[in-house]
Structure formats: structure tokens, C-alpha cells
């Protein structure tokens, strides 16, 4: 006989268990459930089988593989540990969004490397992969983490890999070539590049609430934010083409 609570759980379980055929097959195949294993009672075996089956259905419903589920459980546990440590150290909860920030993902990676580098689930996981897990499975982070930034894809014309800032030292030899390319830009684009990257503003960028202008501002040209961004993007595009050309000439 089922209690009302068990009945409710069973009803809920049935609702997430649309594949009854599969469950029946599993029960038929399981010797212990059929009382053929003297070391396990039928009830124990059935309980275990149902738990395993429902776990699998839950993963199916959530679109998560068994491996991902195990990795996520481990990452979540480390994340909780770190947050508890933060609370113990600072006497308060971490700021909102802490669980979803790159620094937290790096702390998780350090904790794994420190304590469990040989763990088969997470020993070799990278910070960027941890970020993807939090973006997919953490309710708090789902809206905060940009999967785009952690993915290895990009759209045409958009910076690749979120514009990785770390460059191999050998690429410094491209800097003089880039300098020549900047010199070849149209004057307006050069001014925008100077303002955006070299803090030598020959142009003043007007905030969005003060659009409209190409007016003079204390002797400097004033550009609207939108126009400025358009010129910056165009300058980057031209610089990229120029640099590609010069680098291929140099390597010949």
C-alpha cells in the first residue's frame, strides 16, 4: 500500500517518465528485482532501479548527459565550498553575481588543481569549460554568463574568442607593421583610433544624450558615440586587412 505522499511522488515520477516501455524492459532484465539475487531484496533492487531510471529521465528532460551531470555536481559542490569559505572569512555572503563571475570560475579551477588534480570528472577541466557549465546549469548564472564568450565560435565580422588580450610574445614583431598601417588610415579614423586606444583624443566623443554632432568642442572635433563606434570598427577592419598583407609580405 502506498501512503498519500508516496502516491504523490509516484504520480510525479510517472509524469517525468513517459517511456514506460523502457522501464518495463529494465525491470524485466533485472535479476535482482525478480528475486533472483539472494544478496538483495526485491524491494531494494526495485528502489535502486527506479532511482536510476528516474535520474536518467531527469537528465533526458534537462538535456544533460550522465557525465555532464556528474561534472556539474562536482563543480557545484566546490562552488558551494568556496562560497561558505567566503562567508566564514568576510562574515557576509559574497556580492550578487559572485558565483557567476570569471574570478569564481578561476578559483574553482585552482581548488581542483590544489586538492583533486587527478579527479577523473574535473581534474583536467579548464576555466572556460567551467564557465560553460555554470552558464548552462546554474539558475543564477544562466542569465549572467555569456555562453558566446566561452564558446569557440564567432559570427562573421565579430571579434573571435571575445578578442583575446593575451598575445604570444613573438607577435610583438607585428607592432611596427601595425604602426605603419595606422599611419595609412584616413585622418578621421586615425583620430578615433588615437582616442580609443592611445588616450590622445583629437576627437571628443559625445554621450548618447548629446547626439548630433560634428561640432567643434574646445578646438577638437566632436563625434556622436554611434558615429565614433562605426569609424572604429571600420578602422579595425582596414587595419586587419593591411596587417594581414604586411605580415604575409614579411614572411615571404
Amino acid at each position: 500500500m502506498m501512503t498519500p505522499r508516496q502516491r504523490a511522488i509516484w504520480d510525479a515520477a510517472v509524469a517525468v517518465c513517459p517511456d514506460r516501455g523502457k522501464l518495463v524492459q529494465e525491470i524485466k532484465k533485472d535479476a535482482a528485482v525478480r528475486g533472483l539475487n539472494p544478496n538483495v531484496t526485491c524491494e531494494q533492487a526495485l528502489s535502486q532501479l527506479l532511482k536510476t531510471h528516474l535520474d536518467a529521465r531527469r537528465r533526458e528532460a534537462a538535456g544533460i548527459t550522465e557525465h555532464e551531470d556528474r561534472v556539474w555536481a562536482k563543480l557545484r559542490q566546490i562552488s558551494d565550498d568556496l562560497i561558505r569559505e567566503y562567508q566564514a572569512k568576510h562574515g557576509r555572503s559574497p556580492p550578487r553575481g559572485y558565483r557567476c563571475c570569471p574570478e569564481h570560475f578561476r578559483e574553482i579551477r585552482v581548488r581542483i588543481l590544489r586538492d583533486e588534480p587527478d579527479d577523473q570528472r574535473v581534474g583536467k577541466i579548464k576555466s572556460s569549460t567551467i564557465e560553460v557549465y555554470f552558464g548552462r546549469f546554474c539558475d543564477e548564472c544562466r542569465h549572467l554568463v555569456s555562453l558566446e564568450s566561452a564558446s569557440e565560435t564567432s559570427h562573421p565580422g565579430e571579434p573571435w574568442g571575445n578578442g583575446v588580450l593575451v598575445l604570444p610574445p613573438s607577435l610583438t614583431k607585428a607592432l611596427p607593421l601595425l604602426k605603419k598601417c595606422i599611419d595609412g588610415l584616413d585622418a578621421r579614423m586615425r583620430d578615433v583610433i588615437d582616442a580609443a586606444y592611445f588616450e590622445k583624443p583629437k576627437v571628443v566623443i559625445l554621450p548618447p544624450q548629446r547626439p548630433g554632432g560634428r561640432a567643434e568642442c574646445r578646438g577638437r572635433k566632436a563625434l556622436g558615440q554611434g558615429e565614433c563606434e562605426r569609424l572604429r570598427k571600420e578602422a579595425l577592419r582596414q587595419l586587419r586587412m593591411c596587417l594581414d598583407l604586411r605580415m604575409s609580405e614579411k614572411s615571404r
Binding site: 588534480p117 576555466s127 583575446v164 588580450l165 593575451v166 595606422i182 605580415m247
Partner: protein, 188 residues
């Protein structure tokens, strides 16, 4: 003119616009790690890949960051266990007496001229406490205060790493006598 951070940021932004056709994936993490740990140098083809492929640079940046995190994890583990990874300021080691032992709280380094060649045998021995906090397959490097790597490898069952390769002009014994000389163990 020394290029400042603005120039680097601009170069990074410009290179990020390069097209990626997937060739960058040929540069493996293992290979980048090998180079960043100083075990090898990039080939001309790999350098070209890094200059032209955003994916190759992403792999490079990720490995670089992971190595930094490994250093941090190693430092935390040593600190928690109270293990010192540096020699203190060594008194000028006397020359002529070999093997020369450079002591430290949690490890020692032994220098000895190679008996059969002009090279040197350098041995790092971890003391018990240090050995206890080592993970399996973990590599270590011994570097001096100038960043020169003295030896690198995995500890054997006795907690030792031996090196027979000393490619530098100044002998290790001579280095040990210079002012401010220090050795430090780091992941490698």
C-alpha cells in the same frame, strides 16, 4: 618608441577580426604547454599559426592562464602545509668541495661535476613533508632568482629529480656563490 598597452590592445582587437578556418586547432594544448614551460620552442609554422589564427591564440591564452592557476594552486598547497619552496639567502658556498649541498627547510639541492664528462649532476631531494603534498604525475622545476631553470621533471619514488643537463656557461657551483642567489621550486 616602446609600444604601450594601447598598442597591444589595438593589435589584439585587430587580430581578433582574422578569419578562423579551424587550422589553429592543429596547435594542441599539450604542445603550447611544452613551449610555455620552456621545454621547447615554437616552430616557424606554429609561430605563423599563432599570427594568423584566433583559435591558436585562444588555445595559447587558455594554456597560459591554466599554468598560472597551477602555480597558484601549488603555492596554496605549499602554504597550507607550511612547506617552503625557496632556499633562504645562502651563505656563499665554498668552492672545491663536492658534492656541494644547498640546503633548505623542505628540500635540498646537490651539485656535483659529472664524473665522465664536463657536465654537472644536479639533484633535487624533497623532504618528507614536501613529498606528502605532491600529486602523482606532477612535474616540478627548479629555477634560480634570474629565472634560469636548473632542472625539471617528476620526482621518483625517493622524492628526487636528477638532471645531467647544464647548458649554461657559468657552472652551477659558480652561480651558487653569487650574491642574492636563491633557488625556487615551482610546478613544471
Amino acid at each position: 618608441m616602446t609600444p604601450g598597452p594601447g598598442m597591444h590592445r589595438l593589435l589584439s582587437n585587430v587580430l581578433a577580426l582574422q578569419n578562423e578556418d579551424g587550422r589553429g586547432a592543429e596547435l594542441t594544448e599539450e604542445r603550447v604547454k611544452q613551449v610555455l614551460l620552456g621545454r621547447d620552442a615554437f616552430t616557424a609554422e606554429e609561430e605563423r599559426m599563432l599570427a594568423t589564427s584566433p583559435l591558436a591564440r585562444l588555445i595559447y591564452a587558455e594554456v597560459l592562464e591554466d599554468l598560472r592557476l597551477q602555480e597558484e594552486a601549488f603555492a596554496q598547497r605549499c602554504e597550507r602545509a607550511g612547506v617552503k619552496t625557496e632556499t633562504g639567502s645562502l651563505l656563499a658556498a665554498s668552492g672545491g668541495q663536492y658534492p656541494m649541498v644547498l640546503p633548505s627547510d623542505d628540500f635540498s639541492v646537490t651539485l656535483c661535476p659529472h664524473p665522465m664528462s664536463a657536465g654537472w649532476v644536479i639533484s633535487l631531494t624533497l623532504h618528507d613533508q614536501f613529498r606528502r603534498i605532491m600529486h602523482s604525475d606532477e612535474g616540478l622545476a627548479l629555477v634560480d632568482e634570474k629565472g634560469v631553470t636548473w632542472l625539471r621533471g617528476q620526482v621518483n619514488s625517493y622524492g628526487e629529480i636528477h638532471s645531467y643537463d647544464w647548458p649554461h656557461d657559468e657552472t652551477p657551483a659558480k652561480c651558487a656563490q653569487r650574491e642574492g642567489f636563491k633557488l625556487r621550486i615551482r610546478p613544471g
